[in-house]
């Protein structure tokens, strides 16, 4: 057993995961050696058409066998048909014991549960939630789920921690020679940023599209030099589940109050000036923060530099209004964002590696001034949990939480003090996703707690006078008083989830629920 720097006791080995390298600080691990190499390939002028008849033929041609690792991206979100279609085909072809390496899974992928139970899928490395999260939490998977951030995942690929045998890339448009784009097509999803590293490092890359266009498709998200086979299917997804219409700012008064406090904190900070860069999630509070910040930027004549991350219509409007010079888009959340990335040269598609990988020569998160994040719960040490629910079940992936928190100069986590009667500011989070050392402030409706490590921000907020400052202990005590005592989660010893820090060290583990 070893104790990592956020106080978690970890075994030296975890069955189904391997040796454990304990987390020891957000910038502590420096890699050595070279990047992992992909397979060399030669293609000559006798091969000018990469299309194959169907998914099964592509699987056959790829050489995929039992025990291998297959990867997918989640740009089609809850509208995705491709993961289920591919695994169904594998099952029919008798392929078993697969490691599934998606960037994320959604509710629609609950159709995989029979394949997990029958052994077609034996391991998942990627975020799980809903029914699959519940299944894993109750011990229904052979190997633990491995959770990595948006930057940690390409890092693991580049470093060779994960070798992708076959990458299946759902592509809203493709030509016969393997140029891929998310910009157009009935299933358009905008950016295809999560799939880029997979395309570069997988031994075999299969594009699955429902919009085959004449060569050459341009501009591309992923170019022909990476793609081995192209399969045209009737539909890769349900457009209604891929993107929402437009993203709405919350009208809930409590959430607006939290957003108002967060915006006041941003305004008070030294980063609120010309050239500010900014990332928020698409959640209700985050968008409301952006809405308040936008108004103040307009009122004070401040022009930002870039907006980053998952891009919504809200950021697109700010680009159009000149409040941002550029949008750096790893994931386009709504139709407006999809249209914008297709039409506006200042709305730039970036890969997850470019966005957030700590092990390259510089990710965009390092240039970020301010990020507004959420969390299931936070604790007295400013640690944040986004992975598990109050009942201890796996709830959510890490997303860019760790990466942006680590990179940004001002990391804000907004959360109600309680959700229902469940406290969200606690003594010690159940799972540490992001360590307190990279979290600068917790913003609740009952006030703003700034990390004592950031005396500069505390002083700036005091000077501004309109940030309702409290201490983290006051928040935790108030939450406890309002909720009453909570029963601790009952677990078995068996580890069913491993939460990696973005550098591949283990920051926490999730244990099987005792039910």
């Amino acid at each position: 057993m070893a104790r990592n720097s956020v106080g978690r006791d970890l075994p030296e080995q975890i069955p189904g995961y391997g040796p454990v390298r304990p987390f020891s600080g957000h910038k502590a691990r420096i890699p050595e050696g070279n990047r992992a190499g992909g397979k060399l390939k030669a293609t000559f002028n006798d091969r000018t058409d990469k299309t194959v008849k169907d998914i099964k033929e592509a699987i056959k041609a790829s050489g995929l066998r039992s025990g291998m690792t297959v990867s997918f991206h989640h740009h089609l979100r809850n509208g995705d048909y491709v993961v289920n279609q591919v695994i169904d085909a594998c099952a029919e072809m008798g392929i078993r014991d697969l490691t599934l390496f998606p960037t994320a899974l959604f509710g629609v992928h609950k159709a995989l549960i029979p394949h997990i139970k029958s052994g077609v899928i034996s391991r998942i490395m990627g975020s799980v939630n809903g029914p699959i999260g519940q299944l894993a939490s109750e011990g229904g998977m052979e190997s633990p789920v491995v959770l990595r951030s948006h930057g940690g995942r390409p890092r693991a690929v580049v470093a060779g921690d994960v070798k992708i045998d076959v990458a299946f890339i759902a592509s809203p448009s493709a030509d016969r020679y393997g140029n891929l784009s998310g910009r157009i097509g009935r299933s358009a999803c905008g950016s295809m940023g999560y799939a880029v590293t997979d395309a570069e490092y997988a031994d075999c890359v299969i594009a699955v599209t429902d919009n085959l266009v004449p060569f050459p498709l341009t501009p591309v998200s992923i170019n022909q030099t990476k793609v081995d086979f192209v399969v045209a299917v009737d539909s890769i997804g349900d457009p209604a589940g891929i993107v929402s219409g437009t993203t709405q700012v919350t009208r809930d008064p409590m959430r607006l109050l939290i957003a108002h406090h967060a915006a006041a904190l941003i305004e008070s900070s030294p980063y609120f000036k010309d050239g500010i860069s900014f990332q928020t999630g698409a959640g209700g509070i985050s968008l409301a923060v952006a809405a308040f910040v936008r108004e103040v930027m307009k009122a004070r004549g401040i022009k930002g530099s870039f907006g980053l991350g998952g891009i919504t219509s809200f950021f697109v409007d700010m680009l159009k209004e000149g409040l941002f010079e550029h949008l750096m888009d790893v994931q386009s959340f709504d139709l407006v964002a999809v249209k914008s990335i297709a039409e506006n040269p200042n709305h730039v598609e970036i890969s997850a590696d470019w966005y957030a990988n700590p092990w390259n020569s510089g990710a965009v998160v390092n240039m970020l001034d301010t990020v507004v994040l959420g969390a299931t719960e936070v604790d007295r040490n400013f640690n944040a949990n986004v992975n598990t629910e109050a009942d201890g079940a796996l709830l959510h992936g890490i997303g860019g939480h760790q990466d942006t928190a680590s990179g940004a100069k001002l990391t804000i986590i907004t959360t109600p003090l309680l959700r229902g009667r469940i406290p969200c500011v606690v003594d010690d989070v159940y799972t540490v996703t992001t360590p307190g050392e990279v979290v600068d402030a917790i913003v609740t409706e009952f006030g703003v707690a700034i990390n004592p490590l950031r005396q500069d921000l505390i002083d700036a907020a005091k000077d501004a006078g309109d940030v309702p400052l409290v201490t983290i202990d006051e928040l935790a005590e108030r939450a406890h008083k309002m909720s009453g005592p909570m029963e601790p989660v009952a677990t078995k010893d068996r580890i069913i989830g491993v939460v990696e820090w973005r550098d591949g060290t283990v920051i926490d583990v999730v244990r099987q629920l005792d039910k």
Binding site: P253, M254, L256, L257, E445, F446, M482
Partner: protein, 291 residues
């Protein structure tokens, strides 16, 4: 000289809002047992509000409870559940004449005595939601020393007047003037009714500007986002603040020099004007200058 610009309604069946209402920065809170609560939830809401009054926090807000009307079976139970916690006041709906106030006054006296509270501490704000109520506004205002404010109705009153609410609020203009007049004659406060269109900021600013000009002390508020908007309308202008400062300074100087009369800009000002100037500074947030 307490500020009463915004009195925010909190639904009596919503623990989230009841526990957090004070965070929205209104001058007062109205924990609502009447219209916000369906007939099936009257008992549970009463218990919830009672618990929140015992254990909850309200910051510096004036705390009042809107009880059910005296024509219902609930109003005395409501009073018994909330008055013992020493709230600042109650709002009584559909008051039509002094006899209603007297009945509530008697019940309050009994409950205050039983709870060991100072008799008379619980104030009454009367909602005048019918033509008859508006007609009797002055008599209602004078019916008990507990009555410290009156407030016209919105929807109910409009219906009783056999008209509809318009964007301009023409139909409520007369009742509003009557309420201010009666309140001032009786020496109490006048609150305006709620502005129901919660996303119409322009409309809210227009209406608040109008009722401020009529002389209202403040407004009932249906949604927290309206609070800062109303406060900004009630915020005195730089010119008003400047003049108020000079009046208060002159009054102070006159008092120090033992002079009875106060002169500002070469004109004599009397005590009510000084008081008004102090109130302007209070509204502007300069509390210490008034001390």
């Amino acid at each position: 000289m307490k500020l009463r610009r915004t009195m925010l309604y909190l639904p009596g069946n919503n623990p989230n809002m009841l526990l957090r209402g004070w965070l929205f920065g209104s001058d007062g809170l109205i924990l609502d047992l009447e219209d916000a609560v369906s007939i099936h939830e009257k008992d549970s809401a009463r218990i919830l509000v009672s618990r929140i009054l015992r254990e909850g926090e309200f910051g510096s807000c004036e705390v009042t409870v809107r009880i059910n009307g005296v024509d219902t079976e609930y109003w005395e139970k409501d009073l018994e559940a909330v008055v013992p916690f020493g709230i600042d006041g109650i709002r009584v709906p559909k008051v039509e004449g002094p006899e209603t106030v007297k009945a509530v006054d008697e019940a309050l006296t009994r409950i205050e005595k039983e709870a060991g509270l100072t008799v008379g501490r619980t104030k009454i704000c009367c909602l005048l939601e019918t033509a008859q109520g508006i007609w009797n506004a002055y008599d209602v205002a004078k019916a008990s020393p507990r009555v410290d404010a009156i407030c016209p109705g919105g929807e109910d009153l409009t219906a009783d007047l056999r008209t509809q609410r318009s964007d301009e609020g023409t139909e409520l203009e007369g009742p509003r003037r009557q309420v201010v007049l009666a309140a001032r004659a009786a020496g109490i406060d006048a609150f305006d009714t709620v502005f129901p269109r919660i996303n119409d900021d322009e409309g809210l600013i227009r209406e608040t500007t109008f009722i401020k000009q009529l002389g209202f002390d403040g407004k009932s508020v249906i949604h927290p986002r309206q609070v800062p908007i109303i406060h900004s309308v009630f915020m005195p202008t730089e010119k008003e603040i400047d003049r108020a400062r000079r009046i208060v300074a002159a009054a102070k100087e006159a008092a120090e020099r033992g002079l009875g009369a106060v002169s500002v800009d070469g004109r004599m000002v009397d005590a009510p004007v000084v008081k008004r100037a102090q109130f302007t500074l209070t509204r502007a947030g300069f509390f210490e200058e008034v001390q």
